[in-house]
């Protein structure tokens, strides 16, 4: 059994290596070889490890750090500033391959058949059509294959929330009690049961719908105004792309709103609740990849025969995707599931796993390598930027 497991892991990690090697071949043999080895080792370790979470978190945090370091290095190199005290929509000199603008690109592309930003603003996103196609195609493919697995493995902001929301909330109700946000276990008769399951019924529909409203508005406005509207509320603006300080009141109000959003949703709420409310209820990018993920072949679900309804999976879920009523009901994780693997790790009975949608075939050994291929493909752009730009700047 163990030999088979290691053999499978070796095979999968070899696949990851080959994919990464050929993807990076145009950057030179040495780079491709070295860069291909890292995800291959990660894939092997993740497939043989007893628990996915610690290693996935380490990879994710490193990914986020390197990505933003590379991103800011590109910004510094291309426009001379990370903060950019000029209007980035009209400067027309920046090349930032930011996947967060994808919803705007997508709807624009659907409507006009090409990337559609107003002259100059195109610089926010790829300036060449090939780069646009690569980023766009990669995002679509990842969304369709992994759904919100994107959010759990390669979201460019995810590492921050992963850090602030990490920590044990096991066995305790979510604190502070967020009655206005969380669903109430109103249908339960026993007060003891109500208290025991408090905070395990997920987020109220009214709150979860915020992300759909944002996606609707952003899709509409970006498509027709030809502007990447998401950038207006992008959390990375706390350290990137400030509005023009010359605009006075607007600058201060805009910065207050951005910093306020950042502090509330990225620090205060995750630290207090140990959950990712931003990802569950606010993020339009998550809603977009989730929509694509309707076609995803991967599904996290519970084997009903093994499950003893201890609710540990619901307690550890950071996304409110595995809830008490789902554990007792269909056993399938909700739309918001980012396939991070926490519920899989937490289950003492080994009842939770990644399945091929609609079947009882476990496909974790496919899901993890594919996720890593996407994660490291995104990262390769920024690692290459660091490798090429940093020496010339030092």
């Amino acid at each position: 059994m163990s030999v088979r497991k290691y053999g499978k892991a070796l095979l999968a990690s070899s696949g990851v290596f080959v994919a990464m090697f050929f993807t990076n071949m145009d950057r030179g043999f040495t780079f491709a070889l070295l860069y291909g080895l890292v995800p291959a080792v990660c894939a092997f370790a993740l497939l043989v490890a007893k628990r996915i979470t610690p290693l996935r978190r380490a990879v994710y945090l490193t990914f986020t750090f390197i990505l933003w370091f590379g991103f800011d290095l590109i910004a510094l190199h291309e426009r001379g500033s990370v903060i950019l005290p000029v209007n980035p929509l009209t400067s027309g000199t920046v090349i930032l391959p930011c996947p967060a603008t994808i919803p705007m690109i997508f709807f624009g592309w659907m409507a006009y058949g090409q990337e559609v930003f107003v002259p100059g603003s195109k610089a926010i996103f790829p300036t060449t059509y090939n780069l646009f196609l690569v980023v766009f195609g990669l995002m679509l493919l990842q969304g369709i294959l992994l759904g919100r697995g994107y959010c759990g493995w390669s979201c460019l902001f995810g590492g921050f929330l992963e850090a602030t929301a990490s920590g044990r909330a096991y066995g305790k109700p979510v604190k502070p009690t967020l009655d206005k946000i969380l669903k109430k276990p109103s249908n339960l008769e026993s007060q003891k049961e109500k208290t025991g399951l408090k905070g395990l019924f997920g987020v109220r529909e009214e709150v979860k719908d915020v992300k759909w409203g944002f996606l609707f508005a952003i899709g509409l406005i970006s498509t027709i105004a030809l502007r990447p509207i998401f950038c207006e509320i992008c959390p990375s603006r706390v350290w990137n792309d400030y509005p023009n300080p010359a605009s006075g009141t607007y600058f201060w109000l805009s910065m207050s709103a951005i910093v306020g959003l950042f502090v509330i949703f990225w620090f205060a709420l995750p630290l207090l609740t140990r959950k990712k409310l931003w990802c569950n209820a606010i993020c339009p990018l998550g809603a977009f990849v989730g929509l694509l993920g309707v076609l995803s072949p991967f599904q996290v679900k519970i084997d009903r025969e093994k499950c003893n309804e201890c609710m540990l999976c619901a307690r550890v879920c950071k996304e409110y995707a595995m809830t008490a009523d789902r554990v007792a009901g269909s056993g399938k994780a909700a739309f918001e599931c980012t396939k991070c693997g926490r519920c899989i790790d937490s289950c003492a009975k080994g009842a939770v796993d990644v399945y091929l949608r609609g079947t009882s075939k476990k496909v974790r050994s496919w899901f993890i390598p594919i996720s890593l291929i996407f994660t490291f493909t995104w990262l390769s752009v920024f690692v290459w930027a660091i490798v090429t730009i940093l020496p010339s700047m030092l």
Binding site: A217, T249, Y250
Partner: protein
């Protein structure tokens, strides 16, 4: 050629110019109105016929605003064009606040103030509100409107100016009306799959988000 036929030909040129300009830049007009019109129809006027009717009412609101501009252009002249950008800020801020109130009312209002919200929502779901939104959108200077105003300034007379704006409106409204009917039909389609309260909530959030954008744009203009 007699003076009368010369005048007729000149008028015809003006009307055709207005219509062609409206048709030519109409997509930009639709682009500008879509964030307001689409969620408004999806929230409160689902169905192709209702959507069509609402977009016609909305367009009539825009016509009123255009006629007001035509009148002011003739009376005030070029100085109005100069002050348009400064007048854009209050209109944008006002529009933003209105959309914020509208959006929050239909999405979350009943959680906070159920009694007030039901009254506010009934006002917003009426055709008066479609008309008012149309007027405000018409007053908000966008690129096509600025082009029309610049052309209208060259006419220097009230009647040709009004005729030009009416035909400009006709041309630019074609897309709006089609968009309204299509959105209404899609809203009707969605209602068979998603609960009304959810559709209204999502539309409300979209309206509030559009309101925030208008508000921030207005503020940006104000600060510059």
């Amino acid at each position: 050629m007699t003076p009368t036929s010369k005048m007729g030909q000149a008028m015809l040129t003006i009307l055709v110019s207005g219509l062609l300009l409206g048709l030519g830049v109409g997509t930009s007009c639709v682009a500008f109105c879509t964030p307001v019109l689409v969620p408004h129809i999806v929230a409160d006027h689902r169905g192709a016929k209702k959507g069509l009717f609402t977009s016609v009412i909305f367009s009539l609101g825009r016509l009123v605003a255009y006629l007001a501009y035509a009148l002011f252009l003739c009376v005030v002249g070029e100085s109005l064009l100069g002050s348009i950008s400064s007048s854009a800020s209050p209109v944008l801020v006002g529009m933003g606040i209105l959309l914020l109130v509208y959006g929050i009312s239909i999405s979350y209002g009943h959680h906070v103030r159920p009694n007030v919200t039901s009254r506010v929502c009934s006002h917003f779901s009426s055709h008066n509100s479609s008309f008012a939104l149309g007027v405000l959108m018409g007053l908000t200077p966008c690129v096509p409107l600025m082009m029309a105003m610049a052309y209208s300034l060259t006419l220097r007379e009230l009647l040709p100016s009004i005729a030009f704006f009416i035909f400009f409106w006709l041309g630019s409204s074609t897309y709006t009306v089609v968009l309204g009917a299509a959105t209404g039909a899609m809203g009707g389609f969605a209602i068979a799959r998603i609960r009304v309260e959810r559709i209204r909530r999502i539309s409300g959030i979209a309206l509030a988000a559009a309101g925030l954008l208008f508000f921030s744009e207005g503020l940006k203009f104000l600060s510059l």
